[in-house]
Protein backbone atom coordinates (compact mmCIF):
# COMPACT_ATOMS: atom_id res chain seq x y z
CA UNK A 1 0.00 0.00 0.00
CA UNK A 2 1.22 3.50 -0.83
CA UNK A 3 2.77 5.58 1.95
CA UNK A 4 0.38 8.31 3.03
CA UNK A 5 1.14 12.01 3.54
CA UNK A 6 -1.14 14.40 5.46
CA UNK A 7 -1.00 17.93 4.04
CA UNK A 8 -1.95 20.68 6.51
CA UNK A 9 -2.39 24.13 4.94
CA UNK A 10 -5.23 26.65 4.99
CA UNK A 11 -4.65 27.74 1.40
CA UNK A 12 -6.60 25.38 -0.91
CA UNK A 13 -4.33 26.27 -3.83
CA UNK A 14 -1.28 25.06 -1.96
CA UNK A 15 -3.07 21.96 -0.64
CA UNK A 16 -4.05 20.94 -4.16
CA UNK A 17 -0.54 21.63 -5.43
CA UNK A 18 1.04 19.41 -2.78
CA UNK A 19 -1.64 16.73 -3.23
CA UNK A 20 -1.02 16.56 -6.94
CA UNK A 21 2.73 16.63 -6.59
CA UNK A 22 2.88 13.87 -3.96
CA UNK A 23 0.39 11.71 -5.87
CA UNK A 24 2.40 12.12 -9.07
CA UNK A 25 5.34 10.79 -7.06
CA UNK A 26 3.42 7.74 -5.95
CA UNK A 27 2.26 8.74 -2.47
CA UNK A 28 -1.26 8.67 -1.15
CA UNK A 29 -2.47 11.91 0.45
CA UNK A 30 -5.05 13.40 2.72
CA UNK A 31 -5.47 17.07 3.70
CA UNK A 32 -6.66 19.38 6.45
CA UNK A 33 -7.08 23.14 6.41
CA UNK A 34 -6.42 23.91 10.08
CA UNK A 35 -4.81 22.43 13.15
CA UNK A 36 -7.99 21.10 14.72
CA UNK A 37 -9.11 19.30 11.59
CA UNK A 38 -5.55 18.02 11.10
CA UNK A 39 -5.59 16.27 14.47
CA UNK A 40 -8.81 14.41 13.60
CA UNK A 41 -7.55 13.44 10.15
CA UNK A 42 -4.18 12.34 11.55
CA UNK A 43 -5.86 10.05 14.09
CA UNK A 44 -8.16 8.56 11.47
CA UNK A 45 -5.76 8.20 8.56
CA UNK A 46 -2.53 7.43 10.46
CA UNK A 47 -0.33 9.12 7.85
CA UNK A 48 3.35 8.20 7.40
CA UNK A 49 4.36 11.87 7.23
CA UNK A 50 2.78 15.29 7.80
CA UNK A 51 3.56 18.57 6.01
CA UNK A 52 2.58 21.47 8.24
CA UNK A 53 1.97 25.14 7.56
CA UNK A 54 2.57 27.30 10.64
CA UNK A 55 0.16 30.18 10.21
CA UNK A 56 -3.44 29.12 9.96
CA UNK A 57 -6.58 30.94 11.04
CA UNK A 58 -8.14 28.76 13.74
CA UNK A 59 -5.24 26.89 15.17
CA UNK A 60 -1.57 27.54 14.79
CA UNK A 61 0.79 24.88 13.43
CA UNK A 62 2.92 24.82 16.62
CA UNK A 63 -0.19 24.20 18.74
CA UNK A 64 -1.21 21.31 16.51
CA UNK A 65 2.27 19.88 16.85
CA UNK A 66 2.11 20.09 20.63
CA UNK A 67 -1.21 18.26 20.73
CA UNK A 68 -0.03 15.72 18.22
CA UNK A 69 3.06 14.90 20.26
CA UNK A 70 0.86 14.23 23.29
CA UNK A 71 -1.11 11.58 21.39
CA UNK A 72 0.74 8.23 21.64
CA UNK A 73 -0.83 6.93 18.42
CA UNK A 74 0.55 9.61 16.15
CA UNK A 75 3.30 11.30 18.13
CA UNK A 76 6.13 9.63 16.21
CA UNK A 77 4.89 10.71 12.78
CA UNK A 78 7.62 12.76 11.05
CA UNK A 79 6.69 16.38 10.32
CA UNK A 80 7.99 18.69 7.58
CA UNK A 81 7.24 22.38 8.19
CA UNK A 82 6.39 24.25 4.98
CA UNK A 83 5.77 27.88 5.86
CA UNK A 84 6.13 31.46 4.68
CA UNK A 85 7.22 32.66 8.11
CA UNK A 86 10.84 33.66 8.28
CA UNK A 87 12.80 31.95 11.02
CA UNK A 88 10.39 29.02 10.85
CA UNK A 89 13.12 26.50 11.66
CA UNK A 90 12.85 27.57 15.32
CA UNK A 91 9.11 27.07 15.60
CA UNK A 92 9.09 23.28 15.69
CA UNK A 93 12.53 22.03 16.51
CA UNK A 94 11.79 18.32 16.26
CA UNK A 95 10.59 18.68 12.68
CA UNK A 96 12.39 16.49 10.12
CA UNK A 97 12.94 19.64 8.06
CA UNK A 98 11.69 23.20 7.77
CA UNK A 99 11.36 24.66 4.30
CA UNK A 100 10.22 28.09 3.20
CA UNK A 101 7.55 29.01 0.71
CA UNK A 102 8.00 29.21 -2.21
CA UNK A 103 9.85 25.90 -2.10
CA UNK A 104 11.90 23.81 -4.46
CA UNK A 105 9.89 20.71 -5.45
CA UNK A 106 12.98 18.53 -5.93
CA UNK A 107 14.29 19.46 -2.52
CA UNK A 108 10.94 18.66 -0.92
CA UNK A 109 10.61 15.24 -2.55
CA UNK A 110 14.17 14.38 -1.55
CA UNK A 111 13.40 15.21 2.09
CA UNK A 112 10.23 13.12 1.92
CA UNK A 113 12.08 10.13 0.40
CA UNK A 114 14.85 10.39 3.00
CA UNK A 115 12.26 10.41 5.76
CA UNK A 116 9.84 7.67 4.68
CA UNK A 117 11.24 6.15 1.47
CA UNK A 118 9.51 5.83 -1.89
CA UNK A 119 5.74 5.94 -2.14
CA UNK A 120 5.26 2.32 -3.08
Amino acid sequence: MAKKILIVDDDPNITSYLTEFFEDNGYATCAASDGREALDVAKKEKPDLITLDLEMPDEWGPRFYRRMSQDPEIKNTPVIVISGLSGNQYAIQKAVASISKPFDRDELIKIVRDAIGDGK
Binding site: D10, N13, I14, E20, M56, G84, F103
Partner: protein, 531 residues
Protein backbone atom coordinates in the same frame (compact mmCIF):
# COMPACT_ATOMS: atom_id res chain seq x y z
CA UNK B 1 32.38 83.56 43.25
CA UNK B 2 32.28 86.10 46.09
CA UNK B 3 35.91 85.41 46.96
CA UNK B 4 36.99 86.15 43.43
CA UNK B 5 35.13 89.44 43.35
CA UNK B 6 36.70 90.55 46.66
CA UNK B 7 40.24 89.72 45.63
CA UNK B 8 39.61 91.33 42.24
CA UNK B 9 39.14 95.02 42.82
CA UNK B 10 38.67 95.55 46.55
CA UNK B 11 42.22 94.31 47.12
CA UNK B 12 43.48 97.37 45.26
CA UNK B 13 42.15 99.47 48.11
CA UNK B 14 42.75 97.07 50.94
CA UNK B 15 41.82 98.97 54.06
CA UNK B 16 42.96 96.27 56.44
CA UNK B 17 46.63 96.57 55.58
CA UNK B 18 48.71 99.67 56.37
CA UNK B 19 47.57 102.56 58.62
CA UNK B 20 43.94 103.15 57.86
CA UNK B 21 44.48 101.71 54.40
CA UNK B 22 46.56 104.65 53.27
CA UNK B 23 48.41 103.06 50.37
CA UNK B 24 49.18 103.78 46.75
CA UNK B 25 50.48 106.76 44.83
CA UNK B 26 49.71 110.32 45.84
CA UNK B 27 50.07 113.48 43.77
CA UNK B 28 51.12 116.46 45.82
CA UNK B 29 50.55 119.96 44.36
CA UNK B 30 52.18 122.76 46.32
CA UNK B 31 53.72 125.92 44.73
CA UNK B 32 56.10 126.54 47.66
CA UNK B 33 59.15 124.28 47.39
CA UNK B 34 59.94 124.18 51.13
CA UNK B 35 56.49 123.22 52.17
CA UNK B 36 56.33 120.73 49.26
CA UNK B 37 59.51 118.98 50.42
CA UNK B 38 58.43 118.91 54.04
CA UNK B 39 55.09 117.38 53.13
CA UNK B 40 56.77 114.83 50.87
CA UNK B 41 58.99 113.62 53.72
CA UNK B 42 56.02 113.29 56.01
CA UNK B 43 53.86 111.48 53.43
CA UNK B 44 56.62 109.11 52.37
CA UNK B 45 57.05 108.22 56.03
CA UNK B 46 53.37 107.29 56.13
CA UNK B 47 54.12 104.77 53.35
CA UNK B 48 52.84 106.69 50.34
CA UNK B 49 54.55 106.97 47.01
CA UNK B 50 54.63 110.70 46.27
CA UNK B 51 54.65 112.47 42.89
CA UNK B 52 55.25 116.18 43.24
CA UNK B 53 53.96 119.11 41.18
CA UNK B 54 54.27 122.90 41.59
CA UNK B 55 51.27 123.93 39.54
CA UNK B 56 47.90 122.72 38.19
CA UNK B 57 49.00 121.67 34.69
CA UNK B 58 51.90 119.57 35.99
CA UNK B 59 49.51 117.98 38.48
CA UNK B 60 47.03 117.11 35.71
CA UNK B 61 49.63 115.30 33.65
CA UNK B 62 50.71 113.34 36.75
CA UNK B 63 47.06 112.46 37.37
CA UNK B 64 46.73 111.20 33.79
CA UNK B 65 49.88 109.19 34.06
CA UNK B 66 49.42 107.57 37.48
CA UNK B 67 45.68 107.70 38.28
CA UNK B 68 46.76 108.01 41.94
CA UNK B 69 44.81 107.03 45.01
CA UNK B 70 45.10 110.56 46.41
CA UNK B 71 45.50 114.12 45.31
CA UNK B 72 46.66 116.64 47.93
CA UNK B 73 46.47 120.15 46.49
CA UNK B 74 46.84 123.70 47.68
CA UNK B 75 43.75 125.82 47.04
CA UNK B 76 45.93 128.50 45.47
CA UNK B 77 48.07 127.46 42.55
CA UNK B 78 49.91 129.75 40.12
CA UNK B 79 47.98 128.67 37.01
CA UNK B 80 44.56 127.73 38.44
CA UNK B 81 42.74 127.35 41.71
CA UNK B 82 42.81 124.13 43.68
CA UNK B 83 39.05 123.98 43.09
CA UNK B 84 39.58 124.08 39.30
CA UNK B 85 42.14 121.29 39.61
CA UNK B 86 39.63 119.31 41.71
CA UNK B 87 37.00 119.71 38.96
CA UNK B 88 39.45 118.74 36.22
CA UNK B 89 40.78 115.75 38.19
CA UNK B 90 37.32 114.22 38.31
CA UNK B 91 37.33 113.87 34.53
CA UNK B 92 40.91 112.58 34.34
CA UNK B 93 41.00 110.24 37.33
CA UNK B 94 37.56 109.88 38.91
CA UNK B 95 38.62 107.39 41.59
CA UNK B 96 41.27 109.68 43.05
CA UNK B 97 40.34 111.02 46.49
CA UNK B 98 41.04 114.77 46.64
CA UNK B 99 42.13 116.71 49.75
CA UNK B 100 42.38 120.49 49.42
CA UNK B 101 44.70 122.50 51.67
CA UNK B 102 43.73 126.12 52.24
CA UNK B 103 43.46 129.20 54.40
CA UNK B 104 41.03 128.60 57.28
CA UNK B 105 39.55 132.03 56.52
CA UNK B 106 38.80 131.13 52.90
CA UNK B 107 35.36 129.73 53.57
CA UNK B 108 34.36 130.10 49.97
CA UNK B 109 37.04 127.69 48.77
CA UNK B 110 36.27 125.29 51.62
CA UNK B 111 32.58 125.15 50.68
CA UNK B 112 33.33 124.84 46.95
CA UNK B 113 35.78 122.01 47.65
CA UNK B 114 33.27 120.05 49.71
CA UNK B 115 30.47 120.71 47.19
CA UNK B 116 32.68 119.25 44.49
CA UNK B 117 33.13 116.16 46.65
CA UNK B 118 36.65 116.73 47.86
CA UNK B 119 37.01 114.25 50.71
CA UNK B 120 38.43 116.93 52.98
CA UNK B 121 39.50 120.57 53.35
CA UNK B 122 42.45 120.97 55.71
CA UNK B 123 43.97 124.14 57.01
CA UNK B 124 47.34 125.62 56.29
CA UNK B 125 49.66 125.35 58.15
CA UNK B 126 49.07 121.61 57.90
CA UNK B 127 49.10 119.71 61.14
CA UNK B 128 50.34 116.13 60.76
CA UNK B 129 47.51 114.59 62.81
CA UNK B 130 44.97 116.47 60.81
CA UNK B 131 46.56 115.28 57.58
CA UNK B 132 46.50 111.64 58.73
CA UNK B 133 42.82 111.83 59.63
CA UNK B 134 42.09 113.41 56.27
CA UNK B 135 44.05 110.68 54.48
CA UNK B 136 42.24 107.96 56.41
CA UNK B 137 38.87 109.44 55.43
CA UNK B 138 40.04 109.78 51.86
CA UNK B 139 41.12 106.15 51.82
CA UNK B 140 37.74 105.14 53.24
CA UNK B 141 35.92 107.21 50.61
CA UNK B 142 37.95 105.53 47.90
CA UNK B 143 37.28 102.02 49.19
CA UNK B 144 33.56 102.67 49.44
CA UNK B 145 33.43 104.28 46.03
CA UNK B 146 35.22 101.38 44.38
CA UNK B 147 33.06 98.85 46.21
CA UNK B 148 29.93 100.59 45.06
CA UNK B 149 31.21 100.69 41.51
CA UNK B 150 31.95 97.02 41.72
CA UNK B 151 28.49 96.24 43.09
CA UNK B 152 26.82 98.30 40.40
CA UNK B 153 28.74 96.39 37.75
CA UNK B 154 27.78 93.10 39.39
CA UNK B 155 24.18 94.19 39.59
CA UNK B 156 24.17 95.04 35.91
CA UNK B 157 25.78 91.74 35.02
CA UNK B 158 23.25 90.00 37.24
CA UNK B 159 20.41 91.77 35.53
CA UNK B 160 21.74 90.85 32.12
CA UNK B 161 22.16 87.24 33.19
CA UNK B 162 18.65 87.22 34.55
CA UNK B 163 17.28 88.57 31.28
CA UNK B 164 19.32 86.01 29.37
CA UNK B 165 18.10 83.13 31.51
CA UNK B 166 14.51 84.31 31.29
CA UNK B 167 14.89 84.35 27.51
CA UNK B 168 16.39 80.88 27.50
CA UNK B 169 13.65 79.68 29.83
CA UNK B 170 10.97 81.10 27.58
CA UNK B 171 12.42 80.21 24.22
CA UNK B 172 13.82 76.75 24.89
CA UNK B 173 11.88 74.34 22.65
CA UNK B 174 10.30 72.52 25.61
CA UNK B 175 7.50 73.01 28.07
CA UNK B 176 9.03 73.89 31.43
CA UNK B 177 7.01 74.04 34.60
CA UNK B 178 8.01 74.33 38.22
CA UNK B 179 5.81 72.63 40.76
CA UNK B 180 5.48 72.48 44.51
CA UNK B 181 4.65 69.40 46.58
CA UNK B 182 0.95 69.75 45.84
CA UNK B 183 1.53 69.74 42.06
CA UNK B 184 0.74 73.46 42.04
CA UNK B 185 2.53 75.31 39.23
CA UNK B 186 4.74 78.06 40.62
CA UNK B 187 6.41 78.88 37.34
CA UNK B 188 6.14 78.09 33.66
CA UNK B 189 7.87 79.21 30.51
CA UNK B 190 6.26 81.03 27.61
CA UNK B 191 5.76 77.92 25.50
CA UNK B 192 4.01 76.20 28.35
CA UNK B 193 1.74 79.20 28.88
CA UNK B 194 1.01 79.43 25.16
CA UNK B 195 -0.14 75.84 24.82
CA UNK B 196 -1.61 75.20 28.25
CA UNK B 197 -2.80 78.65 29.35
CA UNK B 198 -1.39 81.19 31.81
CA UNK B 199 -1.53 78.77 34.60
CA UNK B 200 0.54 79.83 37.57
CA UNK B 201 -1.21 78.54 40.66
CA UNK B 202 -3.18 75.80 38.93
CA UNK B 203 -2.68 72.07 39.39
CA UNK B 204 -0.40 70.11 37.06
CA UNK B 205 -2.66 67.14 36.40
CA UNK B 206 -5.70 69.36 35.81
CA UNK B 207 -4.05 71.57 33.26
CA UNK B 208 -1.71 69.05 31.65
CA UNK B 209 -3.92 65.98 31.57
CA UNK B 210 -7.42 67.27 32.32
CA UNK B 211 -7.62 64.87 35.27
CA UNK B 212 -9.18 65.36 38.68
CA UNK B 213 -6.56 63.46 40.68
CA UNK B 214 -2.78 62.97 40.53
CA UNK B 215 -1.47 60.63 37.84
CA UNK B 216 -0.19 57.21 38.79
CA UNK B 217 3.61 57.00 38.99
CA UNK B 218 3.94 60.79 38.87
CA UNK B 219 7.61 61.57 38.10
CA UNK B 220 7.41 64.89 39.99
CA UNK B 221 6.28 63.08 43.15
CA UNK B 222 9.08 60.55 42.69
CA UNK B 223 11.67 63.31 42.44
CA UNK B 224 10.28 64.96 45.58
CA UNK B 225 10.68 61.65 47.39
CA UNK B 226 14.23 60.69 46.45
CA UNK B 227 15.74 63.78 44.81
CA UNK B 228 16.58 61.82 41.67
CA UNK B 229 15.74 63.10 38.19
CA UNK B 230 13.23 61.02 36.25
CA UNK B 231 12.45 60.49 32.61
CA UNK B 232 9.01 59.43 31.41
CA UNK B 233 6.90 59.59 28.32
CA UNK B 234 3.43 61.07 28.65
CA UNK B 235 0.50 62.09 26.52
CA UNK B 236 -0.76 65.52 27.55
CA UNK B 237 -3.69 67.59 26.31
CA UNK B 238 -3.30 71.24 25.30
CA UNK B 239 -5.88 73.90 26.08
CA UNK B 240 -7.21 73.48 22.53
CA UNK B 241 -7.71 69.76 23.18
CA UNK B 242 -4.79 68.59 21.06
CA UNK B 243 -3.01 65.44 22.24
CA UNK B 244 0.73 65.95 22.54
CA UNK B 245 3.26 63.16 23.08
CA UNK B 246 5.97 64.44 25.37
CA UNK B 247 9.21 63.15 26.79
CA UNK B 248 9.47 64.57 30.30
CA UNK B 249 12.47 65.06 32.50
CA UNK B 250 12.18 66.10 36.14
CA UNK B 251 14.87 67.67 38.33
CA UNK B 252 14.81 68.73 41.99
CA UNK B 253 15.20 72.38 43.04
CA UNK B 254 16.88 72.75 46.46
CA UNK B 255 16.74 75.62 48.92
CA UNK B 256 19.86 76.92 50.72
CA UNK B 257 19.66 74.17 53.34
CA UNK B 258 19.46 71.43 50.69
CA UNK B 259 15.76 70.60 51.06
CA UNK B 260 13.80 69.96 47.87
CA UNK B 261 11.26 72.74 47.75
CA UNK B 262 10.17 72.44 44.15
CA UNK B 263 10.59 70.19 41.15
CA UNK B 264 11.16 71.32 37.61
CA UNK B 265 9.52 69.36 34.85
CA UNK B 266 10.78 69.77 31.31
CA UNK B 267 8.69 68.22 28.53
CA UNK B 268 9.76 67.92 24.91
CA UNK B 269 7.12 67.58 22.23
CA UNK B 270 7.82 64.32 20.38
CA UNK B 271 4.44 64.01 18.65
CA UNK B 272 6.01 64.23 15.20
CA UNK B 273 8.49 61.50 16.04
CA UNK B 274 5.76 59.25 17.40
CA UNK B 275 3.64 59.81 14.29
CA UNK B 276 6.57 59.01 12.07
CA UNK B 277 7.33 55.97 14.17
CA UNK B 278 3.80 54.62 13.90
CA UNK B 279 3.93 55.17 10.16
CA UNK B 280 7.26 53.31 10.04
CA UNK B 281 5.80 50.53 12.16
CA UNK B 282 2.88 50.31 9.75
CA UNK B 283 5.27 50.11 6.85
CA UNK B 284 7.26 47.42 8.65
CA UNK B 285 4.08 45.46 9.33
CA UNK B 286 3.02 46.03 5.75
CA UNK B 287 6.32 44.68 4.47
CA UNK B 288 6.15 41.54 6.58
CA UNK B 289 2.50 41.03 5.74
CA UNK B 290 3.18 41.51 2.04
CA UNK B 291 6.20 39.26 2.02
CA UNK B 292 4.20 36.55 3.77
CA UNK B 293 1.34 36.71 1.31
CA UNK B 294 3.69 36.94 -1.66
CA UNK B 295 5.36 33.74 -0.48
CA UNK B 296 1.96 32.06 -0.33
CA UNK B 297 0.90 33.36 -3.72
CA UNK B 298 4.20 32.36 -5.34
CA UNK B 299 3.88 28.85 -3.92
CA UNK B 300 0.35 28.62 -5.27
CA UNK B 301 1.60 29.94 -8.62
CA UNK B 302 4.28 27.21 -8.58
CA UNK B 303 1.47 24.73 -8.03
CA UNK B 304 -0.52 26.10 -10.95
CA UNK B 305 2.50 25.96 -13.25
CA UNK B 306 3.25 22.43 -12.06
CA UNK B 307 -0.28 21.40 -13.01
CA UNK B 308 0.09 23.06 -16.41
CA UNK B 309 3.45 21.35 -16.98
CA UNK B 310 2.35 17.92 -15.86
CA UNK B 311 -0.79 18.27 -18.00
CA UNK B 312 1.33 19.04 -21.05
CA UNK B 313 3.61 16.10 -20.27
CA UNK B 314 0.69 13.71 -19.99
CA UNK B 315 -1.16 15.30 -22.90
CA UNK B 316 -4.09 15.75 -20.51
CA UNK B 317 -5.98 18.75 -21.85
CA UNK B 318 -8.23 18.99 -18.78
CA UNK B 319 -5.18 19.35 -16.58
CA UNK B 320 -3.68 21.93 -18.91
CA UNK B 321 -6.86 23.99 -18.93
CA UNK B 322 -7.20 23.76 -15.16
CA UNK B 323 -3.53 24.70 -14.70
CA UNK B 324 -3.90 27.71 -16.99
CA UNK B 325 -7.01 28.83 -15.09
CA UNK B 326 -5.12 28.64 -11.83
CA UNK B 327 -2.21 30.61 -13.24
CA UNK B 328 -4.68 33.32 -14.27
CA UNK B 329 -6.32 33.27 -10.87
CA UNK B 330 -3.00 33.62 -9.06
CA UNK B 331 -1.88 36.43 -11.33
CA UNK B 332 -5.17 38.22 -10.68
CA UNK B 333 -4.65 37.83 -6.93
CA UNK B 334 -1.11 39.14 -7.11
CA UNK B 335 -2.34 42.07 -9.16
CA UNK B 336 -5.04 42.85 -6.64
CA UNK B 337 -2.61 42.73 -3.77
CA UNK B 338 -0.11 44.96 -5.50
CA UNK B 339 -2.83 47.50 -6.31
CA UNK B 340 -4.00 47.53 -2.69
CA UNK B 341 -0.43 48.01 -1.50
CA UNK B 342 0.02 50.85 -3.94
CA UNK B 343 -3.15 52.44 -2.68
CA UNK B 344 -1.95 52.27 0.89
CA UNK B 345 1.58 53.49 0.31
CA UNK B 346 0.40 56.43 -1.72
CA UNK B 347 -1.60 59.16 -0.03
CA UNK B 348 -3.57 59.71 -3.15
CA UNK B 349 -6.06 62.43 -3.85
CA UNK B 350 -9.45 61.50 -5.22
CA UNK B 351 -9.57 61.79 -8.97
CA UNK B 352 -13.25 62.58 -8.96
CA UNK B 353 -15.88 63.18 -11.57
CA UNK B 354 -19.67 63.36 -11.68
CA UNK B 355 -20.78 59.88 -12.61
CA UNK B 356 -24.14 58.28 -13.29
CA UNK B 357 -24.97 55.95 -10.37
CA UNK B 358 -26.54 53.31 -12.61
CA UNK B 359 -23.61 53.15 -15.06
CA UNK B 360 -21.08 52.98 -12.27
CA UNK B 361 -22.98 50.27 -10.39
CA UNK B 362 -23.33 48.19 -13.55
CA UNK B 363 -19.55 48.28 -13.85
CA UNK B 364 -19.19 46.89 -10.33
CA UNK B 365 -21.78 44.20 -11.07
CA UNK B 366 -19.98 43.15 -14.24
CA UNK B 367 -16.76 42.63 -12.26
CA UNK B 368 -18.27 40.77 -9.33
CA UNK B 369 -20.85 38.66 -11.24
CA UNK B 370 -18.36 36.27 -12.85
CA UNK B 371 -16.38 35.96 -9.60
CA UNK B 372 -19.50 34.95 -7.68
CA UNK B 373 -20.42 32.45 -10.37
CA UNK B 374 -16.93 30.92 -10.34
CA UNK B 375 -17.19 30.53 -6.56
CA UNK B 376 -20.61 28.89 -6.82
CA UNK B 377 -22.36 31.74 -5.01
CA UNK B 378 -25.45 33.29 -6.54
CA UNK B 379 -25.38 37.04 -6.91
CA UNK B 380 -28.48 39.22 -7.22
CA UNK B 381 -28.90 42.95 -7.42
CA UNK B 382 -31.65 45.56 -7.29
CA UNK B 383 -30.82 48.72 -9.14
CA UNK B 384 -33.71 51.00 -9.88
CA UNK B 385 -33.55 53.46 -12.74
CA UNK B 386 -33.46 57.21 -12.24
CA UNK B 387 -30.76 57.12 -9.55
CA UNK B 388 -29.11 60.25 -10.93
CA UNK B 389 -25.44 61.03 -10.57
CA UNK B 390 -22.90 61.42 -7.76
CA UNK B 391 -19.40 62.78 -7.33
CA UNK B 392 -16.92 59.95 -6.93
CA UNK B 393 -13.50 58.70 -7.89
CA UNK B 394 -14.80 55.79 -9.98
CA UNK B 395 -11.56 53.78 -9.91
CA UNK B 396 -11.14 54.04 -6.15
CA UNK B 397 -14.78 53.51 -5.23
CA UNK B 398 -15.09 50.56 -7.61
CA UNK B 399 -12.19 48.81 -5.90
CA UNK B 400 -13.70 49.60 -2.47
CA UNK B 401 -17.07 48.05 -3.38
CA UNK B 402 -15.42 45.11 -5.14
CA UNK B 403 -13.30 44.50 -2.00
CA UNK B 404 -16.45 44.37 0.15
CA UNK B 405 -18.35 42.18 -2.34
CA UNK B 406 -15.42 39.78 -2.63
CA UNK B 407 -15.28 39.55 1.14
CA UNK B 408 -18.95 38.55 1.10
CA UNK B 409 -18.28 35.87 -1.52
CA UNK B 410 -15.34 34.59 0.54
CA UNK B 411 -17.59 34.51 3.62
CA UNK B 412 -19.97 32.23 1.68
CA UNK B 413 -17.19 29.99 0.37
CA UNK B 414 -15.74 29.68 3.89
CA UNK B 415 -19.05 28.43 5.26
CA UNK B 416 -18.37 24.76 5.80
CA UNK B 417 -21.29 24.21 8.12
CA UNK B 418 -22.55 21.73 5.56
CA UNK B 419 -26.10 23.07 5.67
CA UNK B 420 -28.14 22.79 2.52
CA UNK B 421 -28.86 26.50 2.26
CA UNK B 422 -27.97 28.18 -0.99
CA UNK B 423 -25.38 30.93 -0.65
CA UNK B 424 -26.46 34.32 -1.91
CA UNK B 425 -24.82 37.73 -2.09
CA UNK B 426 -27.25 40.61 -2.68
CA UNK B 427 -26.56 44.17 -3.73
CA UNK B 428 -29.30 46.80 -3.25
CA UNK B 429 -28.79 50.36 -4.38
CA UNK B 430 -31.21 52.98 -3.10
CA UNK B 431 -31.51 56.72 -2.61
CA UNK B 432 -31.99 57.66 1.03
CA UNK B 433 -32.05 61.29 2.24
CA UNK B 434 -29.80 62.50 -0.56
CA UNK B 435 -27.31 59.67 -0.04
CA UNK B 436 -26.67 56.84 -2.44
CA UNK B 437 -26.84 53.72 -0.27
CA UNK B 438 -25.25 50.43 -1.25
CA UNK B 439 -26.50 47.58 0.86
CA UNK B 440 -24.45 44.43 0.45
CA UNK B 441 -25.70 41.28 2.14
CA UNK B 442 -24.43 37.72 2.35
CA UNK B 443 -25.51 34.59 4.18
CA UNK B 444 -21.99 33.26 4.74
CA UNK B 445 -20.05 32.59 7.96
CA UNK B 446 -20.70 35.96 9.55
CA UNK B 447 -18.47 37.66 12.13
CA UNK B 448 -18.22 37.82 15.88
CA UNK B 449 -18.00 41.17 17.63
CA UNK B 450 -14.21 41.27 17.78
CA UNK B 451 -13.83 40.62 14.06
CA UNK B 452 -16.51 43.21 13.34
CA UNK B 453 -14.70 45.85 15.38
CA UNK B 454 -11.29 45.14 13.94
CA UNK B 455 -12.23 44.48 10.37
CA UNK B 456 -11.31 47.91 9.03
CA UNK B 457 -7.97 48.12 10.77
CA UNK B 458 -4.79 47.73 8.80
CA UNK B 459 -3.40 44.18 8.52
CA UNK B 460 -6.35 42.62 10.26
CA UNK B 461 -7.38 39.51 8.40
CA UNK B 462 -9.72 36.72 9.38
CA UNK B 463 -8.55 34.73 6.38
CA UNK B 464 -5.13 33.69 7.61
CA UNK B 465 -2.51 33.58 4.92
CA UNK B 466 -5.03 34.25 2.17
CA UNK B 467 -5.71 37.77 3.37
CA UNK B 468 -3.28 40.68 3.41
CA UNK B 469 -5.39 42.65 5.89
CA UNK B 470 -5.48 45.45 3.37
CA UNK B 471 -8.74 45.03 1.42
CA UNK B 472 -11.26 46.23 4.00
CA UNK B 473 -8.84 48.84 5.36
CA UNK B 474 -8.51 50.33 1.89
CA UNK B 475 -12.28 50.12 1.31
CA UNK B 476 -12.93 51.99 4.55
CA UNK B 477 -10.31 54.64 3.67
CA UNK B 478 -11.76 55.23 0.22
CA UNK B 479 -15.33 55.51 1.45
CA UNK B 480 -14.20 57.84 4.24
CA UNK B 481 -12.41 60.01 1.70
CA UNK B 482 -15.68 60.33 -0.19
CA UNK B 483 -17.34 61.64 2.98
CA UNK B 484 -19.28 58.39 3.27
CA UNK B 485 -19.60 55.69 5.91
CA UNK B 486 -19.71 51.90 6.26
CA UNK B 487 -21.92 50.15 8.80
CA UNK B 488 -21.66 46.46 9.47
CA UNK B 489 -24.27 44.17 10.89
CA UNK B 490 -23.22 40.58 11.38
CA UNK B 491 -23.86 37.43 13.38
CA UNK B 492 -21.61 34.38 13.34
CA UNK B 493 -23.33 31.68 11.32
CA UNK B 494 -25.98 33.84 9.68
CA UNK B 495 -24.08 36.24 7.45
CA UNK B 496 -23.25 39.93 7.25
CA UNK B 497 -24.81 43.13 5.94
CA UNK B 498 -22.65 46.08 4.89
CA UNK B 499 -24.35 49.44 4.43
CA UNK B 500 -22.28 51.96 2.49
CA UNK B 501 -23.67 55.51 2.44
CA UNK B 502 -22.20 57.94 -0.04
CA UNK B 503 -23.10 61.65 -0.32
CA UNK B 504 -24.00 62.82 -3.80
CA UNK B 505 -21.57 65.71 -3.54
CA UNK B 506 -18.09 65.41 -2.10
CA UNK B 507 -17.09 67.34 1.04
CA UNK B 508 -15.61 70.73 0.01
CA UNK B 509 -12.13 69.99 1.41
CA UNK B 510 -11.93 66.92 -0.84
CA UNK B 511 -13.24 68.67 -3.93
CA UNK B 512 -10.68 71.44 -3.78
CA UNK B 513 -7.33 69.75 -4.35
CA UNK B 514 -8.58 67.31 -6.97
CA UNK B 515 -9.84 69.99 -9.30
CA UNK B 516 -6.88 70.98 -11.46
CA UNK B 517 -8.51 74.25 -12.58
CA UNK B 518 -9.37 75.72 -9.22
CA UNK B 519 -6.99 74.14 -6.76
CA UNK B 520 -3.23 74.04 -6.47
CA UNK B 521 -2.05 70.51 -5.85
CA UNK B 522 -0.26 70.41 -2.53
CA UNK B 523 3.40 69.60 -2.07
CA UNK B 524 2.84 65.90 -1.44
CA UNK B 525 0.80 65.27 -4.54
CA UNK B 526 3.22 67.24 -6.68
CA UNK B 527 6.10 65.09 -5.50
CA UNK B 528 3.98 62.07 -6.25
CA UNK B 529 3.54 63.21 -9.84
CA UNK B 530 7.22 63.85 -10.30
CA UNK B 531 8.13 60.33 -9.41
Amino acid sequence: MENDAASGSVAAVDINGTIGGIVGPLVLVEPEADLRDALEIHLTRLGLHVHKAGNGQAALSLLKEHAPSFLLANARLPDMSGIDLLRLSQAVSPNTAVIIMGDPADRKSALAALRLKATDYIHIPVESEHLEVALTRAAHWRTTRIKIQHYVEQLEALHQTKVLFQQLFDEVPCYISIQDKHFRLTGANRRFKEDFGDTIGSICYEIYKHRSEPCRDCPVMGTFEDGQPRQTEEVVTSKSGEKINVLTWTAPIHDASGHITQVMEMATDITQIRKLQSRLTSIGLLMSSISHSIKGLLTALDGAIYRLDSGLEKQDMDRVRDGADRVKEMVAQIRKMVLNVLYYTKERQLNWARINVRDFTRDVISIIGPKAEAAGVSFTHNLSSGMGAFEIDPGALRSALVNILENCIDACVDDRSGSERKHVVTLNVTDRDGFVVYQIQDNGVGMDQETREKMFTLFFSSKGSRGTGLGMFVADQIIGQHGGSIDVDSEPGSGSTFTVRLPRTLPPEIRQPADPDTGEPDQASRTEENR
